[in-house]
């Protein structure tokens, strides 16, 4: 059940009615049941995985709580991690690992004992990376003593099966969500207004902007050989914007849905296109994942407290893990590793050069004539460069599915793309690409992108729903009507898959 499907539009009001109609003490059970129905709608088999994760982490949490011995706690934590990561590995990474071993041994002319990769036809359960990471954070937190172990299974089941966030994030923490699930929630009109508006805004970003951008991004990658120079840069920008609108749109839908139920979920995006540097970008983009990796991997590795070389390694390693989390393929891993390298270079620059020249007039002049927006532009350009690779694997899959007789490797796509990127005196294929859907589609796209940036600039770091709801009634209703009309009339409804669902 996708958030932009008719199924969801029927499910949501029925669910809300049941949620508020049952006695308050049973609300969490309705949440759990709704979550299983929601997840089972993708495939009933997926609920077995959900139940396995839930039982495993609930037991592990309880057992860790029951003992004071660190060794025993460690044992239970290890079990929890083994099961969670085992599920993730089995469904998502086993084929990737097998292929790599096969390729490596092939180079050395050694046979591989696994005869047929029977597992490469397994369907990856929707949002399994989100599910396992969310559940894993609970057991780690219980182990560290940050969170108390949940004593009642029904509440824990509601936590793991909290449907607004379960398949596409934000990766919510137990310390934030579980206490809210224990509270009784009565219907609140203000929550409904805020939640529905936020959902509307998310749907607008998803169906009006992201899915329209998909026309252009798909076409650009399909013609990777023909695009060059500015066409490639613009295509990369469109792709970054598509991922942003798609994913942040989904997060808005999740946040809005949770808000209607009276539950506050963490923000996942904070205007990343306004970030001033790479580190800042990372604190604004997919915040729930970046903080998860920071809390559970980066800090574990020593964060910034180690020597320079170790810090550089930590940064690159965490970003590589991030890439692997996003997709079991090399382009994704390399794409994020490139971001990590850029962040490491920035760290070295700040730590060595900037610190040394900061008191000088040169630095002050530089600071004066290099305003915030210029920092943002440079940051975005670096991300564009790295993220160009992000989409290469799916482009390869699409091309090979369309032309199985003439398969291409991901390197055969990436090489011309990056090669042509630097031909800045060219913009091959630009007109054909931009106009292949007609001038009207392009005009609509540009108009709504401008609307998005203007709205983000005007709202700042405040929540959009709070900004709108603070206005007078006429203004509010005008916004409601315009937003609804834009979604209904300008939405793209025949491209119904969320980009992040593959993760």
């Amino acid at each position: 059940m996708l958030f932009n499907s008719l199924h969801f539009f029927l499910f949501f009001p029925v669910f809300c009615y049941l949620y508020f109609a049952v006695p308050r003490r049973f609300q969490h059970m309705v949440l759990a049941a709704g979550g299983y129905y929601f997840y089972g709608s993708f495939s009933p088999y997926f609920t077995i995985i959900l139940l396995t994760i839930t039982c495993n982490d609930f037991i592990a949490g309880k057992m860790m709580d029951a003992t004071d011995k660190i060794s025993q706690k460690k044992r239970w934590l290890f079990l929890s991690m083994a099961v969670n990561l085992g599920i993730l590995f089995t469904f998502k990474y086993i084929d990737f690992v097998d292929n790599n071993i096969r390729d490596l041994l092939g180079l050395l002319h050694i046979g591989w004992f696994v005869p047929e990769p029977w597992f490469n036809t397994w369907v990856v359960p929707v949002g399994v990376s989100f599910l396992t990471f969310q559940s894993l954070s609970y057991t780690i937190d219980v182990y560290k003593g940050v969170t108390k172990a949940e004593q009642r299974f029904s509440y824990f089941a509601a936590f793991t099966a909290f449907w607004p966030v379960m398949v596409n994030g934000p990766i919510e923490r137990a310390r934030n969500l579980l206490p809210q699930l224990h509270k009784e929630h009565s219907f609140d009109y203000s929550n409904l207004q805020q939640g529905l508006f936020r959902m509307g805004w998310g749907l607008f970003k998803k169906v009006v902007i992201a899915d329209r951008l998909a026309f252009y991004v798909n076409d650009m990658y399909a013609h990777y050989n023909e695009v060059s120079g500015w066409t490639t840069w613009l295509g990369a920008f469109f792709f970054l914007l598509q991922v942003y609108c798609d994913f942040s749109g989904y997060s808005d839908l999740a946040l809005g849905g949770a808000k209607v139920l009276g539950i506050d979920v963490m923000e996942n995006f904070r205007r990343p296109f306004f970030s001033k540097n790479l580190a800042d970008f990372w604190t604004r983009w997919h915040i729930s994942l970046s903080t998860w990796l920071t809390d559970y991997v980066f800090f574990y590795l020593g964060a910034y407290k180690a020597k320079s070389a170790k810090v550089v390694f930590n940064v690159i390693f965490v970003l590589a893990i991030c890439g692997l989390w996003h997709g079991a393929n090399w382009p994704m891993v390399i794409s994020f590793t490139m971001v990590g390298c850029a962040m490491a270079i920035r760290y070295l620059w700040q730590n060595n050069v900037v610190r040394a020249i900061r008191p000088s007039n040169t630095y002050k002049l530089f600071d004066k004539y290099f305003p915030d927006w210029a920092h943002s532009v440079v940051t975005i350009l670096i991300f564009l460069f790295c993220f160009l690779l992000f989409r290469v694997y799916s482009a390869q899959m699409a091309l090979n599915a369309a032309h199985p007789e003439n398969p291409v490797s991901w390197t055969a796509i990436a090489a011309p793309l990056y090669g042509n990127l630097f031909k800045l005196h060219t913009a091959n294929y630009l007109t054909e690409w931009l106009l292949h859907k007609g001038t009207i589609q392009l005009g609509i796209l540009v108009f709504f992108i401008v609307v998005l940036f203007v709205v983000e600039a005007l709202t700042g770091d405040r929540k959009i729903e709070q900004v709108v709801l603070a206005k007078n009634r006429n203004f509010r209703w005008s916004i409601y009507i315009v937003l609804l009309a834009c979604i209904v009339w300008f939405g793209v409804f025949n491209n119904t898959t969320f980009v992040y669902f593959q993760y």
Binding site: F187, I440, I444, I481, V488, W489, F490, F493
Partner: protein, 361 residues
């Protein structure tokens, strides 16, 4: 509280509905289909040039060459000037909408209308949510589809699914869900639509052979579906033969006692009588290579008045229509086949029209 929420949601939905309806009443029914726009706009401008119109889907658009039929009949002293208004993808139901709309266009010369009996109201689900498909559906067409589909013999799930598809398409058309770009394109760029859809002689006939060499309908850099379908047709002899033998079997097994689908017959006769009242003579055509099983089509066709039937589908009588040399793909003729069919239609029309023409003062 629930009342208040429903009231406010109702106001919002009502405003959107009113705005959508305003838009609907200012647009012609073919706003989402460039082919139909070009063909209907051409007919609107030149309606009085024609006294005969062919309705239908691709089996008519790609098969019936008006110039052949016109010249054959004119040589025999019959004033016959025809136009092919058929559009790809139209089923039995959509052509009735076309007929309603075509009859609204003033043409005092219109004497003959050809209706195709070539499909039940099923369609490719891939067409769903496309502006072309959605724009064809209004309350009447949805009612017509819903009156036929439950009477078909397919399983309940299939029938329910297609009923749902028709209702959804109608709702999408009312609210123009996701179609504002197409509406804007119609309003601002209608005059720039490709007129190649009209065919080489501007009579609405355009065989696939021509389109293959002038691909204005598809992106030029992509291999087209048309070419793919041709390649598959040429290479897959087993499927070709099995389709033909299925058609032959339907014809062989047909008897006068076979019961016709009452809903389809009713719809045809409504169209027949409506035209008759306007002084227009209707001919029902049973074309070759239909996707729909002929065991459904044949009884409906034979339930039509005797002087209103043109049959060009029987593989026993017309084996060439099913021969690989005359086919473009599994369900369409190439230009050679289209010429054959058009000649045959003219041959069958001649005796049907001559008495009426010669008896005229």
């Amino acid at each position: 509280m629930i009342k208040q929420i429903l009231y406010k949601a109702g106001i919002l939905a009502g405003i959107i509905l009113i705005l959508s309806l305003v838009m609907k009443f200012t647009l012609p029914f073919y706003w989402g289909d460039s082919t139909q726009t070009v063909k209907f706009e051409h007919y609107k401008k030149n309606s009085e040039q024609y006294n005969a119109v062919y309705m239908g889907g691709s089996l008519e658009y790609r098969h019936i060459d008006p110039s052949i039929i016109d010249s054959t009949l004119q040589k025999n002293g019959i004033d016959f000037r025809s136009y092919n208004i058929a559009v790809d993808g139209h089923t039995f139901v959509e052509q009735m909408t076309d007929l309603d709309e075509m009859l609204k266009i003033r043409n005092p010369n219109l004497k003959y209308v050809f209706i195709s009996i070539s499909s039940e109201p099923y369609f490719f689900p891939a067409n769903l949510h496309t502006s072309k498909w959605v724009c064809w559906h209004n309350a009447t067409s949805t009612y017509r589809a819903l009156s036929i589909i439950p009477t078909l013999e397919d399983d309940l799930k299939t029938r329910l699914k297609f009923c749902y598809f028709y209702v959804m398409s109608w709702v999408e058309n009312i609210l123009k869900i996701g179609f504002m770009p197409e509406v804007m394109q119609f309003i601002f760029q209608k005059d720039t639509y490709e007129t190649g859809y009209l065919g080489n002689k501007k009579d609405g006939f355009y065989p696939y052979d021509y389109e293959e060499h002038r691909m204005f309908m598809e992106y030029q850099w992509e291999d087209t579906l048309i070419r793919q379908s041709k390649r598959e047709y040429e290479s897959n002899a087993v499927k070709r033969d099995s389709l033909t033998s299925e058609v032959r079997k339907s014809f062989e097994q047909y008897t006068d006692k076979d019961e016709a689908n009452a809903a389809m017959v009713k719809l045809c006769m409504e169209a027949y009588n409506k035209c008759k009242k306007m002084g227009i003579r209707v001919f029902f055509v049973l074309p070759p290579r239909a996707r729909t099983n002929y065991s459904l089509l044949l009884p409906v066709f034979h339930a039509m008045p005797d002087d209103a039937k043109i049959e060009v589908a029987d593989p026993r009588k017309y084996p060439k229509y099913y021969a690989v040399d005359y086919g473009y793909n599994f369900h369409h003729l190439n230009y050679r086949g289209a010429k054959l069919q058009s000649h045959e239609m003219a041959r069958q029309l001649l005796p049907l029209l001559q008495p009426a023409e010669t008896s005229a003062p």
